[in-house]
Symmetry: C2
Subunit: 335 residues, 2 copies
């Protein structure tokens, strides 16, 4: 198994990426790494971590780097030799099984969609984020890959999300909910009302409509929505966690002796603030592209990179994509 | 000025509603109250608060009551004599200026839209909620009145939200943002891209696209979105606050001596949990209907009811609706 790692993405690249790669190689077996990036920048770091002599590591040169403030399509239009485009092309040609990229979600979506294409029957891939919830985790998708969706897209997200939940969280029969504005079957907008009918006919364990409040109550293990809504939920919850931490700090600093307590109180909020960017899972997969793609948060530490590689390895080994293609066909929900 | 109060709505009705009415009459002058509800249930409570002898209070009988688990349209279809329908009809006939109703948002939207109709030029009204943010408040609209919107609806929300912000928060030139998935002008879905162009041409102080995280950073004083997205944001933020409180409590109860501290840490979160239901403002206005309509949270205390009446009074006195009609006409954003 070969896993491509975009060495140039993220706030601390390439340093933290290479550290993460070294840790992954040390801790896990069963795969090789194709590092993609600027050879000149990578060489000294590779030597430092003895990656240059590691037979499990191959280096592929990519002249350009997509910066965090570049537009999503720049990797395809103006930076055709960027590490993400070159990396996605390697997977697209069948020379590797997965790609791990840190940082620029939009560029990763654009490059993998074009270079790797979607799985047979899938029209649009979806970003699946793992969010904290009461006594467990919830998977929300799409968290932002598609801002305009058709009902069939949401039905495909339901199936892809269910299989991802089984693979990554080990839930045997996860509950799938459709995000709406009320939990009665008839509630929703035009998109979700149609999607409701389609999802009801799929073999997933569909619990019907769920509301925003239900996400964190874990009424469903998987919550399906379009990428505009998913992004709005994810970002506003991140913003709220940040504000709550700020408010707690302010409330406690009125009494300096309570600062330690304020820090304690912030701990659970910190976990919430990093929603969808959990270092434990290394990032969010882009489900539905032809090859496993894990997108890590821009601020990923070496541990985050290591775990992103681990997750990519596991999803390839468990043949998540094969399962998706089969289940979509069986369900007759193909595009 | 006459303000209709639906005496039967909310978890603690009619008791807390009548207490709130009594407090409002005692504290504020310049208006009369038309209480609508079941005469039999209200009579003893009216005597207790000396409302039966108060010349500023009129009682109108309504045989039926919309329950919290009734569907939104039940007030119009099956319960034509419900307090909300009878109350909205009084305003619709021009016999009162405003209505305050507690509890059932869907029924309030349905009844007021039909009985009071929308303002000239307005196609769809919007629920405007006041959310906590860094160093101030942010108004989010639509929070759930319309799940499917056209670009012109969002442009009207921008204007209505701006005027409401001026009236209620006293901000002289509030910044208006359009909720999207990125802050660049070109980011968004089909709806927001078109709405962006329309809002840009209105006289509001438009700061462009804002993301979910920006809401709580107060990049804009007013954030405009469709009711599906607004409801998803509001509800998921409520759910997150609840989860955060739960997690903080759990973290602190490992050490029983820290319980007091846990309670302290929860205080700011409590404010966040009640987002959009701030007792200070008594509830959320439904902007764009012909007559002021304030919808209070189901769990409103007498203080919440009192403040909802106060807000209704102020919005009538400041002629918010007149300002909306004039500004929509001037901006050529009428339906």
């Amino acid at each position: 198994m070969k896993i491509v790692v975009d060495a140039m993405g993220g706030d601390y690249a390439p340093k933290s990426v290479l550290e993460g790669v070294a840790e992954a190689l040390e801790n896990f077996k069963g795969f090789e790494i194709v590092l993609v990036g600027k050879t000149k920048s990578l060489a000294p770091l590779m030597r430092r971590h003895s990656l240059d002599k590691n037979p499990r590591v191959e280096l592929v040169h990519a002249e350009e780097t997509v910066k965090m403030d570049d537009s999503s399509t720049v990797s395809l239009r103006n930076k055709k030799n960027s590490s993400i485009t070159v990396g996605a092309d390697i997977v697209g040609k069948g020379e590797a099984d997965a790609i791990v990229t840190i940082g620029h979600t939009g560029a990763a979506v654009a490059a993998t969609k074009v270079k790797m294409r979607t799985l047979p029957g899938v029209e649009r891939p979806a970003i699946a984020v793992i969010m904290p919830a009461k006594e467990g985790k919830v998977i929300l998708l799409d968290a932002g890959a598609n801002v305009d969706c058709k009902p069939i897209n949401l039905a495909q997200f339901a199936i892809m999300g269910e299989l991802y939940s089984k693979s990554i969280l080990g839930i045997s029969r996860p509950k799938v909910g459709l995000l709406s504005v009320g939990d009665e079957d008839v509630k929703g907008n035009e998109l979700t009302k149609e999607a409701f009918k389609l999802i009801k006919d799929t073999p997933v364990n569909f619990v019907g409509n769920v509301e925003g409040t239900d996400i964190f109550e874990r009424k469903a293990d998987i919550v399906v929505c379009d990428g505009f809504v998913g992004n709005a939920i994810l970002k506003s919850c991140e913003g709220l966690s940040k504000l709550a931490m700020h408010m707690i700090k302010k409330a406690f600093t009125k009494n300096p002796f309570r600062m330690t307590t304020a820090l304690l109180a912030q701990k659970p909020l910190l976990e919430l603030k990093q929603m969808g960017d959990s270092e434990e899972y290394g990032g969010a997969p882009l489900l539905g592209v032809n090859g496993i793609c894990i997108i890590g948060h821009g601020s990923s530490s070496p541990k985050g990179v290591k775990n992103a590689i681990k997750v990519a390895y596991e999803l390839v080994k468990k043949d998540l994509n094969g399962a998706i293609v089969r289940k979509l066909e069986e369900s007759n929900i193909t595009f």
